[in-house]
Symmetry: C2
């Protein structure tokens, strides 16, 4: 039985069940484990001796939180992370995760000009901008941000769904919101070099050909069985398992 | 420079600083990482193929919470954990961590009679009963519980400080609280086979000769420097590093 690729609705259902009173997980716990898995996927794909500099691009939602956790663990794994944070999330947990990174003196870039420099001075990009809740149109200035990341010569590892892709249909024509003159632009999204799916891969990455990891070694067996996820077995104490070798 | 062995006061200070508004960690985060490190220490000391059954003995405080997190990760690492929980903690987080284990159908023993059977039917014991805040006299029935664990033929891995030891002076004569007739007993505490210290080893385990791990790969560099902890380097993406090889 091969692993299930799930819809946006099922992805939301899994998160809701885990954090319901019967699932009993806190967002702090799940984000910590998810971000740790992302950091491990970076370490397994792009070893610290060849790719010490990691630019972690964090969106304003929960996926940005995963990115902040990953940046912290990457620091402890002896990488040199830099965070790009165009729009910090307003949730308390987001602010705390950011503070934890600042306490480690991880640099935080905030402007597009700094990002432009940042993408030239990194060995790998961790894309934590949009997660499975993303839907078009693309807000500005994320059109410029996605274009900048796509123009980088450094490899990109995306979390869950490459930023700007449709969570179910994959890479699609993506339109921006109208600018002040009513003009809509069409953005060419990038294809990352590697990917980590969290809990279960989403339908939109079914055709992804790069290195593909799965993280989220916390899904209860009963939930996996109920939703017929057919999760692969993780090895040893790893928080990630490679899917590309198995698909 | 060798690693510092810290006092109870410094251990409390580290936890307080991590969870202060400037440290910004939540208890959920720290307990998740600590418990994961404990599960990794078990896996590295007692591999799942030779030691599949783990009896996780959880006290009522934060160390019991670490034990519950470890039991969950051990389940995902394909061990067969059983939890012994003589006195569940009252904190909300403790109840949530217990629920997460129950959702994985991890058996929970509650009576001393069940523990008596449990210690005979396990391959390793994870001792998460008392942490660095413990102070005598020993409450009943923990005298019987410690004696039962000490009588087991299965190896014991203790978290932070073997249960009943003095956090600074190590293994000492330990007196119980008076029973209903005013009688005080002296308890012989056990010497575990292995140990995992969390964040920094405590003074009381300085002479410990068994396999000794360190977990807590989240201490900010600035805090480690301020307190002159001289922490060793962790390898790869490991959440534990072996101290016994370095001491």
């Amino acid at each position: 039985m091969s692993i299930r690729f799930i819809s946006q609705k099922i992805a939301q259902q899994i998160d809701e069940e885990l954090m319901s009173s019967s699932g009993a997980f806190s967002l702090d716990q799940l984000m910590e484990l998810a971000g740790l898995a992302c950091a491990q996927a970076v370490a397994k794909t792009y070893p610290v001796n060849t790719h010490p500099r990691v630019l972690v691009c964090c969106g304003p939602g929960n996926q940005g939180g995963d990115g902040l956790v990953a940046a912290r663990h990457l620091h402890h794994f002896r990488y040199k992370p830099t965070i790009y944070l165009p729009k910090p999330g307003s949730k308390d947990i987001y602010q705390r995760l950011l503070k934890q990174c600042e306490n480690l003196e991880i640099p935080v870039l905030k402007s597009i000009e700094e990002l432009e420099k940042g993408v030239k001075e990194t060995d790998v990009i961790l894309d934590a901008i949009f997660g499975f809740s993303f839907h078009p149109p693309l807000r500005r200035p994320f059109d410029r941000i996605l274009a900048l990341l796509g123009s980088s010569s450094a490899p990109i590892l995306s979390i869950d769904i490459p930023s700007g892709w449709d969570v179910e249909r994959g890479r699609q024509k993506l339109e921006t919101e109208p600018d002040e003159n009513g003009k809509v632009d069409v953005v060419e999204t990038f294809v990352p070099d590697a990917l980590i799916s969290l809990t279960v891969p989403k339908k939109g990455v079914r055709e992804f050909k790069g290195r593909h990891w799965l993280g989220g070694r916390f899904v209860p067996d009963a939930l996996a069985k109920k939703l017929e996820l057919n999760l692969p077995e993780y090895g040893g104490v790893d928080q990630v398992v490679e899917l590309s070798a198995k698909l």
